[in-house]
Each structure stands twice: as C-alpha cells, then as structure tokens.
C-alpha cells in the first residue's frame, strides 16, 4: 500500500521553475532516496511534501488523504515529520529539554498548563529513552547549541522521531559530517528502517550512504524526474551517469 503519493507536482517561483511535473509513490516501510545534482530541486520537492511550500500545480496524497494545501503543523499531526539540511534545533535549551518538548507535543500536551506527576514521569522516561537511542546519553544536560554538529543532527532526528511519525523526511542527514559521524547517523537510520519498519524519504549527497540504505532511488535534474528504480538499476542507468558526469 502506498503511504505517500505525489502526483505530478510543480512549483514555480515567478519565471523560475524549481520543480516540474514530478511524481512519486512511496510504500509503507520503504526507504526512498532522492538524489540529483545541486539545484535539481530536491529541497523544494521536500518542502512541498512537508508543507513549507505549496505546489503551483499537482496533488499530494498522504495515507489516502489529500494534503496538498494543509499547513505544516497539520501535516505533522497526520504523521509527517522532517529534518532540515541546516540543522534546526533549540540551541539554548538542553538536549533533554529539546526532546521533552517534542515528546509533550506528540502526547497532545501542547496546550496543557500543567502535568500530573504520572504524565510528567512518562514524558521524562520517553525523552531519556530517545536520548539513549540517539547516542546522546552523555550530553543529555548540555545545551544543544554547544554540541558537535553530529550530535546536533542526532538531536534533530530524535526530535522528529519523538513525534511517532508515519513518514520521516531527512534532508541531507550526513551533510557536513566527518566519517565517524556519517557512520553513526547511517547506522541510526538503518536501525529505524529495519527494526521499526519506519517509512523514510531522504535526500543525500553521499552516494555510499544512498546505495547502502535505499530500497529505491529517484533522480532529479533541473526540477524534473530523470530516473527511478532500485539502486542497481540507477547505477546502471546511462542518463543518470550522464547527468552526474556532465555536471562534473
């Protein structure tokens, strides 16, 4: 069953065409990678799915419901959560507090002026649990803004996960990371995919990561879809090779 269905969406900025007539269907439990040269429209495409932008034309269906024009917060409530290319966290709050906020929102407490002792304890346990899963136990009380790039990124991913998403969108999760950090994040993503059967769509530049993780790959170039298929098919595709070689 397909969880997310993008039906020939386009997005124009004035005369500039960022995304043109792109379609995509993502199955439950699938890990889909979106790749393409710089300026291919990958991030715009992501923004259309997450509601940061609305498409000029086309339709987006999630879990059988048309979400094309929903506000971002409403998409989150329906189970889409995302990370950003430049990590977006709460820098002057601790890791624990960052996660706590996400957990409370997921529990439906965002307007609550107080919590019972039991609710409070449950939130703490869940936040600590996420902290451990993200390998952040040793920095739990530090301010996120003071952490390494990798730990900030891990915090962001764990916040997105705290929302119990049905679909996780990761925009270049390993961008700007060293080898060790890339390895850690990749392992985390694979765990989520394998163990929790989470549906994930990710944009990624590092081809090792993409071919290691993805079930299927979609290639964008100049706002259009160039190819789509399994990693093996994409590796063998001549047009994809041309696009990448042509760019280099």
């Amino acid at each position: 069953m397909s969880l997310l269905q993008v039906e020939s969406v386009s997005r124009h900025f004035g005369s500039l065409v960022a995304v043109e007539n792109v379609s995509m269907s993502v199955e439950v439990g699938e890990l889909r990678a979106v790749i393409g040269p710089n300026g291919a429209g990958k991030t715009t495409f992501f923004n259309l799915i997450s509601g940061f932008l609305t498409p000029t034309s086309g339709r987006i269906v999630f879990g059988g419901e048309d979400i094309t024009n929903l506000l971002p917060a409403r998409r989150v409530w329906r189970g889409i959560s995302r990370t950003f290319q430049l990590t977006e966290v709460f820098p002057e709050l601790s890791v624990q507090q960052n996660l706590r906020i996400a957990v409370e929102i997921a529990a439906g407490y965002r307007l609550r002026p107080w919590l019972s002792r039991r609710e409070d304890a449950a939130v703490s346990i869940r936040a600590t649990d996420l902290c451990n899963k993200g390998g952040l136990a040793n920095v739990e009380t530090r301010l996120v803004g003071e952490l390494s790039h990798g730990d900030q990124r891990a915090t962001e991913i764990m916040m997105a996960l705290a929302l119990n998403p049905r679909l996780l969108l990761l925009d270049e999760p390993t961008a700007g990371m060293g080898d060790q950090e890339t390895y850690n994040i990749t392992r985390l993503i694979r765990q989520l995919h394998r163990d929790q059967k989470l549906t994930i769509v990710l944009i990624e530049h590092d081809m090792r990561v993409v071919f290691h993780l993805a079930d299927r790959i979609m290639v964008l170039a100049e706002g259009r879809m160039l190819a789509e298929g399994t990693p093996r098919e994409i590796a063998a595709n001549e047009r994809v090779q041309a696009a990448y070689l042509g760019q280099a």
Binding site: S50, F52, L71, P72, A73, V76, W77, S81, R82, F84, E88, V89, F90, P91, E92, L93, S94, Q97, R100, I101, A102, E104, I105, Y109, R110, L111, R112, P113, W114, L115, T141, L143, E156, M159, L163
Partner: protein, 316 residues
Amino acid sequence: MEMSPKRGANILIWAVLLTMPYWINWIGGYTSLGSRVMVLALAAMSLNFLLGFTGVLSFGHAAYFGLGVYGMGLTIKYLVPSTVAGTAVGVVAGAAAAAVIGLLIVRLRGIYFAMATIAFGQVFYFIAYRWNTVTGGDDGLSGWHRQPIDLGFAAWDILGSDRAFYYWVLVCFAGATGIMAALLHSPFGRTLLAIRENERRARFLGIPVDRHIWLSWMISCFFVSLAGTLYALLNNFADPHDLRWDQSGDFVIMAVLGGMRAFWGPLIGAAIFVVLQDYVSSQTQNWMSFIGLFFVLVVVFFPRGVLGILHRPSSR
C-alpha cells in the same frame, strides 16, 4: 540536593518584598516607591513573558497597561466605587483590545510585529487624549480615588494606609507572577520557549505557531493591564501618558536592563529604573535626556542585563 541557588534566590526575593514597608524608610525610600517598583515590575515581567520567553518583540504594551489604568479610573469615577470592580473592568478592557489587535498582527514577525504594536498602541492614546468630556483629555482623569476593599468580615483600608495598599499590590503581584512562572514550567510554556528558540523547528514539530504566539500575547497583555489597574490606584489618577509609546519603551528597557532571559530580571530592572527616575527627576529639568542617555548606555554596554551577566544562558 540541598537548596538550589534558584530556590534560594526565590526565597530571598519574597522575603525582601514581604518586609519592604518595614525597612524602606531606613534606606531613604518610602512605601509608595516600593509599590511603584512592584507595579511597574509586574508590567515589565508581563511584557517579558512575550519578549524573553516567546521571543516576540512588542513595543506597544503601554496601550493595554493604559486601558487598565483608565478602566479602573472610569469605573470608580462613573460606575461603581469599588476597587475590585475597577480591576475587573480594566483587565477585561485590556484583554479584549489585545484579543482583537492580536488577531490582526499575529502573522507579522520581528521588527514588523514591533512596528505594528507601536502603531496600534497609539489609538488608545488618541482616544484618551481627544475624548475630553469622559477621560479628561490631556489633563488626565482625576476626581476619584481608590476604595477600601470589603472582605466581608473586615475592610482592607488600602486608601488610608500606604502600607495596606502595598500589600494589595503584593497580593496581585504574587498571584500574577505565580501563574506566569507555573505556565513557563508547563508543556504550554515550553512550546513558547520552542518558538523563541527556533520558529521553523517549532512549526515542524506541529506547533501552530501563530496561535501560540497569540495566546502568549494575550497572557502578557492580560497581566500588563492588571498592572495598569494597580498603577491607577497608586496615583489615584489616570494620565494619558500611561498609554503612550514612551511608556512602552520604559517597560522594554526595564526587561532588558534586568535581564530578559531571567524570570526575575524585569523586577531588578524596574527597581533600578524607578529609583533612578525618582532621583533624576528631582534633580534636573532635563530628565528626558538622562533617560535617553540611559537607554543608549544600556544598549551599548549592558545588553544582557544584570541577571544576564550573573549567569550564562543555561537551561533556565
């Protein structure tokens, strides 16, 4: 864990506020000055709920403060001679105006939000200024005074005794700051911190940001109009300047001076500001220049405020 420094500071602050009328004369002050500090501190702390803990800059809070002032004055003068009724009218007037204006401006951000709050703030000033027959216009609303509070078994004579009035202010101050502190430590309060820290992240965690900013704005304006009602009682007078943009600026500078990331920061700022103003205006004609210079110096040399310098931006 024994007693945390934070808990110690709280106990110290409440001890000082509770006993102030009994020693303020010894250090050269007077009880009304203490009341004034607390009233303006409440206003600045209410503003800071929005400014320091939601990250939204309002430069027009005097409007809602002033509605509290006039709500109190007009009620006692024309409707019922009751302090409690005046408080209710003032607070409802402030909150109602804030609700409508909040809806209009909640989609603006940053400096544009600030500019819209400044501009909207002026409406009420012009109304108070122009509607001579009711508000007394530029001369202000006089010819009324605060009324003793009937507790059923006894009357609380806040008119006859400055000290009694001080404790009425303290009761309101404690209630308002207690509620604000509790809110900031709740899940709702944390969504506001989230918006301050990173609006984009907040939105993509599923927080309807505009709605939460509106709520924070309402809470802030509600308590600032409560401070306004107290200010009216303090002076037994309603002055159109209480509604004007310079008054808004005073609230902001108090919050910044004390430290806007600290809950008690604006209290410290208000204390310094009020005492300084009291002293300077008795010494010179050119107090405007001094206040202006004071603003400049604070911004240039002291942007993080007194409490901001004492402790790093920790996790509160």
